[in-house]
C-alpha cells in the first residue's frame, strides 16, 4: 500500500514537472499538450459516467456549451478574465446538465447514449442555423487576461498553459477524492446492481444526477479552456464526431485512475499529429489501427500498463 506522502507528493511533483516542461518544450508541443489537457477534462468527465455504467455519446454538448459560454462571455458580456470565462463555461454546462439530468437519469445503456447524442446534435443544429453566432464559421476570441495581467505573445501562451495544467490538476485531484468517498463509490455500486443500491438506502437517480452535473461541469471547463487556447469556436465542438472522439479516447485511456484520461488524451493527440504529418490521406486508419491494438492487447486501456500485476505464488 502506498503511503500518504507518495499518494499526495507524487502527483504534485508530476504537476510541477509538467509546468516546468511547459516552459521548456517547443511551441507546437506545448499547444498539443495544452489541448490534450483541456480535452482530457472532457474524457475525465466521461470516465466519471462510465464508472457508473453510463456511456455518453453527446459530451460534445457540454464541451460546445462551455466553449460558446466563454466566447459569448468575451464578446457579449465583455468579460476578459480567463478564470471568469472558465467559471462561466462550467456554470452554463452545469446548469443545462442539471435540467437535462431529470430526463436523462431515467435512461440506461444505449438509450442514455442515444439521447445524450440527440441533445448534442440539437445544440449543433441551433449553432449552425444561428447567424448571430457565426453559423458554421463560428467566431474568434481575443486573448484574455490572467488574474488581471494582460500578457501578449509567448507570455500569454505560457500563462494559458499554466492555467490549463492547474485546472486539470485541481479537477483530477478533487475527482480522485470524490471517487474515493461514499458518494463516489456509489457509481460502481449502481453499475453493479441498481436494485441493491435502492434497498440499501441510496437514491440511484439522485446519485446519477449529481454525477451527470459534475461530468457536464468538467466537460464545460474543457470546452472553455479549448476556446480560450485556440482563440476560435465553431459548431463542430458539439458535433457527434467530437463526442465520439471523446468516447474513443476514454476507451483508449481506461478508467483505472483520474490521470488516465490526460495520458490517453496526450497519446491520442500525438498519434493524430504524427499520423496526419506522415500519412495525411489515411491518418484515420492509423488512429483506428491503434485503437484496435489497444482493445486487443490492453482491454483495460493504456492505464493498465501502470497497474500492478498480482504476484505469482511460487513454491519454495
Amino acid at each position: 500500500m502506498r503511503g500518504p506522502a507518495v499518494a499526495i507528493g507524487l502527483p504534485f511533483l508530476l504537476f510541477c514537472g509538467l509546468i516546468a516542461a511547459g516552459f521548456l518544450m517547443p511551441g507546437w508541443l506545448r499547444f498539443i499538450t495544452l489541448i490534450a489537457l483541456a480535452k482530457g477534462l472532457v474524457v475525465l468527465s466521461l470516465m466519471l459516467l462510465m464508472r457508473a455504467g453510463l456511456v455518453s455519446f453527446g459530451q460534445g454538448l457540454y464541451y460546445g456549451l462551455g466553449a460558446y459560454a466563454a466566447g459569448l462571455g468575451v464578446n457579449l458580456l465583455k468579460v476578459t478574465e480567463a478564470l471568469a470565462l472558465l467559471a462561466l463555461g462550467v456554470a452554463v454546462a452545469g446548469a443545462v446538465a442539471w435540467v437535462l439530468g431529470f430526463l436523462l437519469t431515467r435512461y440506461r445503456e444505449i438509450f442514455f447514449a442515444m439521447l445524450s447524442l440527440a441533445f448534442s446534435m440539437i445544440l449543433y443544429g441551433l449553432l449552425v442555423k444561428s447567424s448571430a453566432l457565426g453559423s458554421t464559421d463560428g467566431f474568434n476570441l481575443p486573448t484574455p487576461t490572467f488574474l488581471g495581467f494582460a500578457f501578449a505573445g509567448t507570455a500569454a501562451r505560457h500563462a494559458l498553459f499554466v492555467l490549463t495544467a492547474s485546472v486539470a490538476f485541481a479537477a483530477a485531484l478533487l475527482l480522485h477524492r470524490y471517487l474515493g468517498s461514499t458518494r463516489g463509490y456509489l457509481g460502481e455500486a449502481i453499475r453493479e446492481n441498481e436494485i441493491r443500491v435502492e434497498y440499501l438506502g441510496a437514491s440511484v437517480r439522485g446519485a446519477l444526477h449529481v454525477k451527470y452535473v459534475l461530468s457536464a461541469a468538467l466537460a464545460g471547463a474543457g470546452g472553455a479552456l479549448t476556446a480560450v487556447a485556440t482563440g476560435h469556436i465553431d459548431p463542430d465542438l458539439a458535433y457527434w464526431t467530437t463526442s465520439g472522439e471523446f468516447v474513443f479516447v476514454a476507451i483508449l485511456s481506461g478508467t483505472g485512475s483520474v490521470a488516465a484520461p490526460f495520458l490517453g488524451s496526450f497519446v491520442f493527440e500525438m498519434i493524430r499529429t504524427y499520423a496526419f504529418a506522415y500519412s495525411p490521406n489515411t491518418w484515420q486508419m492509423v488512429v483506428g489501427a491503434t485503437m484496435l491494438l489497444v482493445i486487443i492487447f490492453m482491454p483495460g486501456g493504456l492505464w493498465s500498463l501502470f497497474r500492478r500485476r498480482p504476484r505469482l505464488v511460487t513454491r519454495s
Binding site: 461514499t182 456509489l186 455500486a189 453493479e192 446492481n193 436494485i195 441493491r196 443500491v197 435502492e198 434497498y199 440499501l200 438506502g201 441510496a202 437514491s203 440511484v204 439522485g206
Partner: protein, 214 residues
C-alpha cells in the same frame, strides 16, 4: 406495524398479486409460505418499493409507503434481505454490514453494529474476511446482519433458509426468534413449513398471487 391492503401488482401486464391483505404487528414474526412462482418475492419487493405500478395501500406504523421513494424505505427502518444475498464480494463482512449505514447516514453506526454483533456473534468472528471467502450459509448470516442495520421497524427476509446447511438454518431460526424481543415486525418467506413452523406467530399462505391467513 405493517399493513398491506388490497395490493395488486402486475409485471409486464401479467397480474402477479391479486388483492393481498396482511397485517404484521411489532414483535411478530410472520411466515409467507408458497411454492416457487407464487409471488413471495414480488410481495417483498413491492413492500420495498422495487416494483413500479402497484395498486393498493402499504403502510408502516400508519405511514403510507407509496409516498416514500424506494431508497427512503431503508431510512424509514425497513431492512431487506434478498434471496440471493447480494453481498459485495470484494468488501469485508463488516464493510458489507456497514454499507446501508453509510448510504442512509445513520448517526449511531457503532452502537447498532455492536447490537448486531451481539445478536449474531458469528458475523463478528469473520468480520475482517472478504464476503467472497464465506460459504453460502455464512453469507446468509451476513445478509441478515446487513438487513438489521436499517431494519429497525420491519425486516423482510426472502427465503432466508434456502440453500443453507441444516445447522446454519437452525442458527438462523434462533437469531430470527431472538428478534421478537426487539419489537421488530418480521416477514419471512419460505417454500414450505420446514423451518418457519416453529418460528412464526402468524402464517400466511400465498398461492398464485393470492394470500390467505392460515
Amino acid at each position: 406495524m405493517l399493513e398491506v391492503r388490497d395490493l395488486q401488482v402486475s409485471i409486464q401486464e401479467t397480474a402477479i398479486l391479486h388483492g393481498v391483505n396482511l397485517v404484521i404487528p411489532p414483535g411478530a414474526v410472520a411466515g409467507l409460505v408458497g411454492r416457487n412462482g407464487a409471488g413471495k418475492t414480488t410481495l417483498m419487493r413491492s413492500i420495498m418499493g422495487l416494483i413500479a405500478g402497484i395498486r393498493g395501500a402499504i403502510a408502516l406504523d400508519g405511514q403510507d409507503l407509496a409516498k416514500a421513494s424506494p431508497h427512503r424505505r431503508a431510512h424509514l427502518g425497513i431492512g431487506y434481505m434478498p434471496e440471493d444475498r447480494r453481498l459485495v464480494p470484494e468488501l469485508t463482512v463488516e464493510e458489507n454490514v456497514l454499507v446501508p449505514a453509510w448510504a442512509t447516514g445513520s448517526a449511531d453506526i457503532a452502537q447498532r453494529l455492536r447490537w448486531i454483533y451481539q445478536a449474531i456473534p458469528e458475523v463478528k468472528s469473520f468480520a475482517a474476511r472478504k464476503a467472497m471467502q464465506l460459504s453460502g450459509g455464512q453469507q446468509k448470516l451476513v445478509a441478515l446482519a446487513r438487513a438489521l442495520m436499517t431494519g429497525r421497524r420491519l425486516l423482510l427476509l426472502d427465503e432466508p433458509f434456502e440453500g443453507v446447511a441444516p445447522a446454519l438454518a437452525h442458527r438462523l431460526v434462533e437469531v430470527i426468534a431472538g428478534l421478537r424481543a426487539d419489537n421488530l415486525a418480521v416477514l419471512l418467506s419460505e417454500s414450505d413449513y420446514t423451518h418457519s413452523a416453529a418460528l412464526v406467530n402468524q402464517l400466511f399462505v400465498i398461492e398464485r398471487g393470492s394470500v390467505r391467513q392460515a
